[in-house]
């Protein structure tokens, strides 16, 4: 399964990565994506998750070709 992973803002700095391409078979949920892409970093308490640019939760299923993003609460406007 191939997944594109993105980190934004303070979470990008915490993890030390902005974009990761995952190619692994042991991925079922966004939580798996987080675990593998961050080398087992603990999930950040208030982080938000988007799968293919729609808000999601860590336990949501992912599929081949998905784009999964992790970021802190938004502060635009």
């Amino acid at each position: 399964m191939s997944i594109t992973v993105k980190f934004f803002a303070s979470l990008r700095e915490t993890i030390g990565k902005s974009d990761v391409s995952l190619d692994a078979d042991n991925i079922t949920t966004a939580a798996d994506v987080w675990r593998i892409a961050t080398d087992n970093h603990d999930p950040v308490g208030n982080m938000l998750i988007a799968i293919n640019m729609e808000y999601a939760s860590l336990d949501e299923m992912v599929k081949d070709g998905d784009e999964v993003a992790f970021f802190p609460p938004v502060t635009g406007g």
């Binding site: 993105k6 934004f8 938000l48 993003a69 970021f71 609460p73 938004v74 502060t75 635009g76 406007g77």
Partner: protein, 145 residues
């Protein structure tokens, strides 16, 4: 309905006039235009702010701002909406966001404009990083509306 993301400073009043001029079909139809302009302050949470960088998730930002505009059009009887939002390096007194709603009556345009800004602030993936003195930090929460 239009959603525009701008990497450079813009004049919200000129943008409003330009948008309206480009919509001659609206002439005579709208009786109310409600607008919100968000402008960068030089202070926040008790600190002097010298500059700000506004990061975003481009495709998701566009998608959700369009969704918010569509929702507003479903909830109220609107003739048109315009959203312009900055990203990149921003200085105090620079406009950050322009929201405009055109409708026949103010009872539609006022709540719709409020809806746009409140939904934008919780759903559109933008993040502010402020420079205060020699330091910079990420803004962790929105100020109460």
């Amino acid at each position: 309905m239009a959603v525009k993301l701008r990497g450079e400073s813009f004049d919200p009043w000129q943008a409003l006039q330009t948008h309206q001029n480009e919509k001659p079909e609206l002439a005579g139809k709208f009786g109310a235009t409600s607008i919100f302009v968000g402008t960068m302050r030089d202070f926040n949470d008790g600190n002097d702010v010298q500059a700000m960088a506004l990061e975003h998730y481009p495709a998701m930002t566009q998608k959700h701002l369009e969704a918010i505009s569509t929702e507003a059009g479903q909830r109220w009887d609107l003739l048109d909406t315009l959203i312009i939002h900055r990203y990149g390096d921003i200085q105090p007194n620079d406009p950050i966001v322009l929201l405009a709603v055109w409708s026949a009556h103010r009872s539609e345009s006022f709540p719709a404009c409020r809806y746009l800004i409140e939904e934008l602030k919780t759903r559109a993936p933008f993040w502010k990083q402020e420079t205060t003195g020699a330091n910079s930090h990420w803004v962790e929460h929105n100020t109460p509306g």
